[in-house]
Symmetry: C2
């Protein structure tokens, strides 16, 4: 059994899983206004309660919502307030168990590859499309991390540069996550509403845009077409660069199901080289909110001894 | 010693090399109007004459100007007239030596990695920019072929789609090789000449455009800026996807030297994620016309026994 954490800046999950990916128990946490120390303490507390209930856990796996180096160090404090925390050491000394850590998108790739929509594919990319866009790649059945642990940061692919290119967080102007993430789709939808003389909708989400497109609203359909077109070009670039067997897409936006995947498949084919077109295999993630948590389980199981 | 062939549709090279990449003898051939059978016979003849002079050759390596499957089969007859030829078997039976074959861009990557500008880099991409654009990737000191032997076909990355996107050969509209290859740069230069009321120049090459830009011609400078901008975005996409230590650029266009590499480096940084910007290491190929021929040597040396 493995004790697993999926830790982000605003949300966390802690679970106990068997080696074949059965989650025996999961605790979900919202950070609310907690400072870094309190957030860590609450995650530890959740872990302790699960460990007490399942003392057979032999290792800890962590999915972390930020970059992680090839030797397991956290490289950037996406979780504000953790600048001085060594997460791996904190967990090791608290539980007395070996700790493995992966970036959350890499963990998502590991989870879907072992237990989810990526099973059976030796060459696989996983993209998570939500507030930002992250990615992970499995080559020859193993996680590929790159020279500096920074491989597969697909949200940073610059798809559409230029003077009016949109910007998201730390990405360069015109990066994929500024064009095809949930907030990017909502922003484009509001822009099209205003252009059509309609009022902007505050708090509009990608899910709202999918609903409105289903109701045949022109602004929503066009915003989706644009966002999905950019995402398709990103997926095609990943496939052209890596020559993979399958691409799995998770994250909040993937929950739109066929309304996303049917037009996305068609658009990816438009941008793929002919010799890869007929091989296209694009799947929605199968593990829902648990892709990264179960990837943390894989990271712990596959820890080199 | 290795007997090596670099075989394209219009040109071929045959050489004998030591294991440390010293070419003892090289024969260059132009196909002229030869049909497929005659072209093969002339290549064989060149190989036989080199083998007679260097009977110590123990294996044959081939760089082929077209796709090659992971098990060494030629997948597409880029060399017209070779539809019914099994190149590996022909060479094996003619010379009685084991034969290894690689796609020419993969061979270029192998050659530059072992003997040229890629030495010391464990994670490397090689791009060849000439009539088309090809690529090869070394991950953890080994050639990465992808799931179907089609990895690193960077010329097919669609960078700029749309109703007026240019097309090159079998690529999709707006593919990198339709925007940043030698002929693409020349075509854009002529388009800008015509737009400026100047006559089109027949037979214009990328080299002519570099010369004219050096002479401060506006149409030439703008055409280069456009082509180099697209190439930069392609290189940045490759680096973002793979997280590499170095990128080596070869092929005809790379012979422009600093006139290419200085603006290219600046533009790649513009499109790279911040965390990769300071690590950018972009180098011109060091083996000139012999990158792929020496890569064929590596393919033969590294043949699994």
């Amino acid at each position: 059994m493995i004790l697993a954490f999926d830790i982000g800046g605003t949300r966390g999950r802690c679970g106990v899983s068997t080696a074949d990916g059965q989650l025996l128990s999961v605790i979900g946490l919202e950070r609310d206004g907690d400072d870094g120390a309190r957030w860590l303490a609450r995650l530890m507390e959740a872990g302790r309660s699960l460990y007490a209930a399942h003392p057979g856990a032999k290792a800890i796996g962590v999915s972390f919502g930020g970059p992680v180096s090839n030797d397991g160090r956290i490289l950037s404090m996406h979780v504000s307030g953790w600048e001085s925390i060594n997460l791996v050491q904190e967990l090791q000394s608290a539980f007395g168990l070996p700790v493995s850590i992966e970036n959350d998108a890499n963990a998502g790739a590991l989870g879907e590859h072992r237990y989810g929509a990526g099973r059976g594919a030796r060459y696989l990319a996983y993209l998570t499309v939500s507030t930002g866009i992250g990615g992970g790649v499995i080559l020859d059945d193993r996680l590929y991390r790159g020279a500096h642990g920074m491989a597969a940061e697909f949200g940073h692919l610059v798809m559409h540069p230029g003077p009016n290119a949109p910007v998201y967080a730390a990405s360069k102007p015109g990066a994929l996550e500024a064009l095809a993430s949930g907030p990017a789709i909502a922003r484009e939808a509001n822009r099209l509403r205003v252009a059509a003389g309609l009022p902007e909708i505050e708090g509009l989400t990608a899910r709202d845009v999918f609903d409105a497109a289903d109701g045949k609203e022109k602004w929503a359909r066009e915003a989706l077409q644009t966002g999905i077109g950019h995402l398709a070009r990103g997926v095609a670039a990943v496939l052209s660069a890596y020559d993979l067997e399958r691409v799995v897409i998770g994250g909040g936006v993937s929950f739109a199901g066929d309304a996303l995947f049917t037009p996305l498949c068609a658009a990816v084919k438009e941008y793929l080289p002919h010799f890869l077109e007929e091989r296209l295999d694009l799947q929605p993630a199968a593990l829902g909110d648990n892709s990264a948590l179960l990837g943390a389980v894989v990271a712990a199981l596959d820890r080199p001894s």
